[in-house]
């Protein structure tokens, strides 16, 4: 398996605080890789460092063999890597229609068949062209997240970075979005890097997962290890117990 995304000893510091402390991953092409951890564990910082939203001071990042450093990314990078954010209310421009939101990435990357692409993108996320000229405040949380996914998929990326894509949504809507993401991954042979605090979601979506705490990787295990409880770190066990819900004791 070739590496779609390779991270070596990545370090991100905010002032004196090490948000990422020598983190290394290799994620294969077509793989779905999960990262779990609590707030402050550095899981979102990792995705932001990969996508160039924050700069990393040390370490290397390579995408399909091409190295990148700091926070400078070229157009080619964003053709390959796209990101979906947690909060569907904060990640869409409030004064742009859906049409305008989807148009922008197409113009940036010089696509020509804009009409068909926008219509196809809306169909693919199950919204239909009726939504094309709405503003994001006219959409529900689930519909907004579908638009965010459509915007990411419209430039035909190979790698999708998903930062808690369903944690702001109701359980019933979460299932729909997870199904949509899985379908897209199957159809396009995408590589997923998915961050979540919910072990259930990660074990449903990902074949392999890393557990992070205070900027470090505690351990990396295959999905099966969660079911069979074949992991070594105490922290992983704590997360697993927490995900099973409240017990009166």
């Amino acid at each position: 398996m070739t590496s779609a995304l390779s991270i070596r000893d990545m370090v991100v510091t905010y002032d004196e605080f090490a948000a990422l402390d020598h983190v290394s991953f290799d994620i294969g092409t077509g793989e779905s890789f999960g990262i779990v951890g609590e707030s402050g564990s550095g899981k979102s910082t990792l995705l932001r460092a990969v996508s160039g939203l924050v700069s990393f001071e040390q370490g290397t990042l390579s995408v399909n063999g091409r190295p990148y450093s700091g926070r400078k990314r070229d157009k080619e990078f964003y053709r390959t890597v796209q990101m979906v954010f947690q909060d569907p209310y904060g990640s869409l421009h409030p004064r742009q229609t859906v049409d305008r939101l989807l148009l922008e990435p197409l113009v940036i990357h010089g696509f020509t068949d804009i009409e068909t692409r926008i219509n196809r993108a809306l169909d693919e996320v199950g919204l239909g062209t009726g939504f094309r000229f709405r503003y994001s405040h006219q959409l529900s949380g689930g519909q907004r997240q579908r638009i965010a996914i459509a915007r990411a998929l419209i430039v035909e990326p190979k790698i999708l970075l998903l930062d808690e894509p369903t944690s702001a949504l109701d359980a019933s809507i979460q299932a729909e979005i997870l199904n949509l993401l899985e379908q897209a991954r199957r159809d396009r042979n995408l590589t997923f890097v998915m961050v979540s605090h919910d072990l259930g979601v990660i074990s449903h979506m990902c074949e392999r997962l890393a557990v992070m705490k205070t900027g470090k990787v505690v351990e990396t295990v295959p999905r099966k290890a969660l079911e069979n409880r074949e992991f070594s770190a105490e922290y992983t066990r704590q997360l697993l117990v927490a995900s099973e819900g409240f017990r009166r004791g």
Partner: protein, 281 residues
Amino acid sequence: MTMPAKPLLTVEDLRVTFPTRTGDVQAVRGVSFALGRERLGIVGESGSGKSQTGRAIMGLTPGHAKITARKLAFGDRDLLTMPARERRHLRGKQVAMILQDPKYSLNPVMTIGRQIVETLKTHERISTSAAKARALAMLEAVQISDPERVFSLYPHEVSGGMGQRAMIAMMLVCGPELLIADEPTSALDVTVQLEVLDILDKLVADRGMGLIFISHDLRLVSSFCDRVIVMYAGRIVEELPAANLADAQHPYTRGLLNCLPTIGSDRHPLPVLDRKPEWAL
């Protein structure tokens, strides 16, 4: 569950209506239940009216909304006709509410200690030193290890879990008989959630309070409460003992239970809710 002869709270045919430019929107459409000294869960997704039900009981519905009910009573006292002054006495003293996010629901320019003392002084004739002692004891009761320090901190100086404990302390310091908890742990990390729930559970049990636990998380509610009410589009679609959740009849309840991804179950795609228009009738 043995019901006491006189319920703590009686809600009959509660309706909350918001007038909008395009006509009236009914957020709550005829909710009825009675609550004793027990733990009742109200579950539903956003827009189901679960929070508005809690707010109507608490008397925190926005002024332009219309509340009607055949009966809305706390013990023998009618909440609908009660003057605002009396309602204020009740609120904080006998009925208290824990909100979702301590970041937004604590006063940012008052220390945590002063906010707790304020609650006490509003409702009781008590000296400042006695109030401080009570506040410190309460902070200790919510398992804050260094109450003196937390007493003098501002809300932004504490973590989410600590803030939520402070809020629980603030709400329980006057010894209310009914506690409404609206998504008390949704803003917290998973491992902290359990600690906070544990504290809440013990305090509610020790003090024999009635609890209304509002949440979107059906599994969490069923593990925490004695009885669960499931709401959809402003109505109660099902009410059942928490232990019998597996026997839920309504397709919405079953759908909510099924759509969660769990470790070890290999279901691709996940079952999704097939919303029937008749559920909302």
